[in-house]
């Protein structure tokens, strides 16, 4: 395990008691406002000294209250993007970005590259006080990335950014996850972001771990849906790029068949993960014809779960993978959907946007 976190701390009216381990990659902390996400991040960064706990990253013990060990923040080498940015008001944007380099012990990311990625080239000589909200946040991200951290902590880093900007930054974070050994703890409320980035998902509720485990498992878990929010429920499949078609579609082999997705920028053979939202899956008992939807996967109903509303969540097994489909109770009845029933899952090609596709490095 790359990351091992065990923390207990009490605030008046709020008790934190969490423990989780995570392999390399991105560990997403997910949970409602006030569930303790920032508190965990602070404790990992050494900004909060918890009552009890142990934190180890890549074998290095940052904190062990039993052994009386408390590594001070500056020796933990965490790049922390704070929930409320903490840019240095007395330094220019460029100086803020370069601040961490003064003390970096590793090789920092390339300055020009990070600046270009974040689109802050024009701001370099500006004072931070006049920046717009999104500009501030981008500078904060850049500052953390450029400090050659051993561990990255990002507390809702993209919340203030527009979708096009998010779409530019996410692949970079994926690359970071896949190409470097820097573990990333990522706080987010956005399920698509989580699905795309997370290696491990830790769901917090009122200071406790409600569920933790590999992202694909947690996100396809019918039981996790209430926390994730029904609207955002969706399963994560892994597949392999089979072929790039001339008309901009990529053919992906998944265990249950073939999916056509909007261009995935990866060579044949590359492993990718695909999040398919439950609301984007249509069920049919017979193989449908003449639809604009290209992806039709034969599947078997694995579980059905009724919610309070008019909806029903259907878990499908398509080959090795699990799919989630959310349909109305009326349709479920009309189609005779029940455990063990064979049917077809229909997924619109375009419903799987680039947001929902992530590369997996090796």
């Amino acid at each position: 395990m790359t990351l091992s976190v065990r923390l207990a701390h009490d605030f008046p009216g709020f008790a934190l008691d969490v423990a989780f381990d995570a392999p390399p990659g991105v560990t997403v902390l997910f949970g409602r406002s006030g569930s303790g996400k920032t508190t965990v991040a602070n404790a990992v960064a050494g900004l909060l000294r918890p009552r009890a706990g142990r934190v180890a990253v890549n074998g290095a013990v940052l904190l062990d209250t039993e052994a009386g060990r408390f590594l001070p923040p500056h020796r933990r080498r965490v790049g922390y993007v704070f929930q409320q940015d903490r840019l240095f008001p007395h330094l220019s944007v460029a100086r803020n970005l370069k601040y961490g380099r003064l003390f970096a012990r590793g090789t920092p990311e390339d300055f020009g590259h990070v600046v270009a990625l974040l689109g802050i080239g024009d701001l370099l000589r500006r004072r931070t006080a006049d920046l717009s909200g999104g500009e501030r946040q981008r500078v904060a991200i850049g500052r953390a990335l450029l400090s050659a951290p051993q561990l990255l902590l990002m507390d809702e880093p993209l919340a203030a950014l527009d979708d096009p900007r998010k779409a530019e930054i996410l692949p970079y974070l994926e690359r970071l996850r896949d190409e470097t050994r820097v573990p990333l703890i990522y706080v987010s409320h956005s399920v698509p972001e989580v699905a795309r980035l997370a290696t491990t998902v830790v769901m917090l509720d009122a200071g406790r771990v409600q569920r933790a485990g590999p992202a694909a498992e947690i996100l396809s878990d019918i039981g996790a849906i209430p926390t994730l929010g029904v609207a955002d429920a969706g399963a994560v499949l892994t597949g392999r790029v089979a072929r790039q078609h001339d008309d901009g579609l990529t053919e992906i082999a998944v265990s249950g068949g073939v999916l056509y997705l909007p261009m995935v920028d990866a060579p044949p053979g590359a492993q990718i993960r695909i999040r398919i939202e439950a609301r984007d899956v249509i069920l049919s008992r017979a193989r449908p014809e003449g639809l604009s939807a290209l992806n039709i996967l034969p599947a078997t109903v694995a579980a059905v779960r009724e919610g309070e509303g008019p909806g029903v969540m259907v878990q499908l097994r398509a080959g090795q993978d699990l799919l989630l489909a959310r349909i109305t109770r009326r349709s479920a009845r009309a189609l005779g959907i029940g455990e063990g029933v064979d049917c077809f899952g229909i997924v619109k090609t375009v419903a799987v946007t680039r947001q929902n596709v992530g590369l997996i490095g090796d």
Binding site: P73, P89, R143
Partner: protein
């Protein structure tokens, strides 16, 4: 102008400037240190240090001068020690005037700097720490620049106070023209002479002009620095 002031008075002006300048400069580093200690550290004897720093403000200057004399005089233990080991003599030298002025101004300087340190958002210092800066480096690269307006204000106060200090100075190093006769001593001397008010007034004006000049200058610098830091 040179006709307006006697050479001896010019000496006093020059000496006052020299004394105030050095008193301010030399007390800045300990001033920042003590302010930081009082604002951010928790240690036994903190309140004692706090009280000690304020002492020159509470005591009548003459008493402070007397204490200085009893400590740093040539016959006094510390004074003898310093003279024999480091060759530093304060008594009856301009250095002594600077010492007296510096000590009298010290509480003002420390208070101003401390106020500035207490206003620094510790979350910025935390951010610097997560970026790898050790405590002293956080101080140098984040805290110090952010408190610069406060440091400048402290220096202004100290300079002004040093320009005006009289009681402790005259008690400690006397009033020796060209050596320890600062502007305030000169003004005092004139006020001792019946009908000396006119001459005193002349020196008061010089004193005010010089100090105001320094004040305006530092005010300007402080405003610039503050604007630069706040970025507003």
């Amino acid at each position: 102008m040179s006709g307006w002031l006697s050479p001896e008075e010019w000496d006093a002006v020059a000496l006052s400037l020299r004394v105030a300048f050095w008193a301010t400069l030399v007390s800045l580093p300990p001033g920042i240190l003590v302010a930081h200690a009082l604002a951010r550290w928790r240690f036994p004897g903190r309140q004692l240090l706090n009280g000690l720093v304020h002492l020159p403000l509470i005591l009548p200057p003459v008493a402070t001068g007397y204490l200085l004399l009893a400590t740093f005089g040539r016959r006094a233990p510390v004074g003898q020690f310093l003279e024999q080991t480091l060759g530093i003599v304060f008594a009856f030298r301009w250095t002594g005037a600077a010492l007296a002025a510096g000590i009298m101004a010290f509480p003002l300087m420390v208070r101003a700097i401390r106020l500035a340190i207490e206003a620094v958002d510790p979350r910025l210092e935390q951010a610097a720490a997560t970026l790898g800066a050790a405590r002293p480096l956080v101080f140098l690269t984040v805290t110090l620049p952010l408190i610069l307006p406060g440091v400048i204000v402290g220096a202004i106060l100290a300079f002004a106070k040093a320009m005006g200090e009289f009681g402790a100075t005259i008690t400690f190093v006397s009033n020796i023209p060209g050596q320890t006769q600062t502007l305030p001593s000169a003004i005092y001397a004139f006020l001792q002479v019946p009908g000396g008010e006119a001459s005193a007034l002349r020196l008061v004006l010089v004193s005010v002009a010089v100090a105001m000049g320094a004040l305006l200058l530092s005010e300007l610098v402080a405003t610039r620095v503050a604007r630069w830091i706040a970025g507003r």
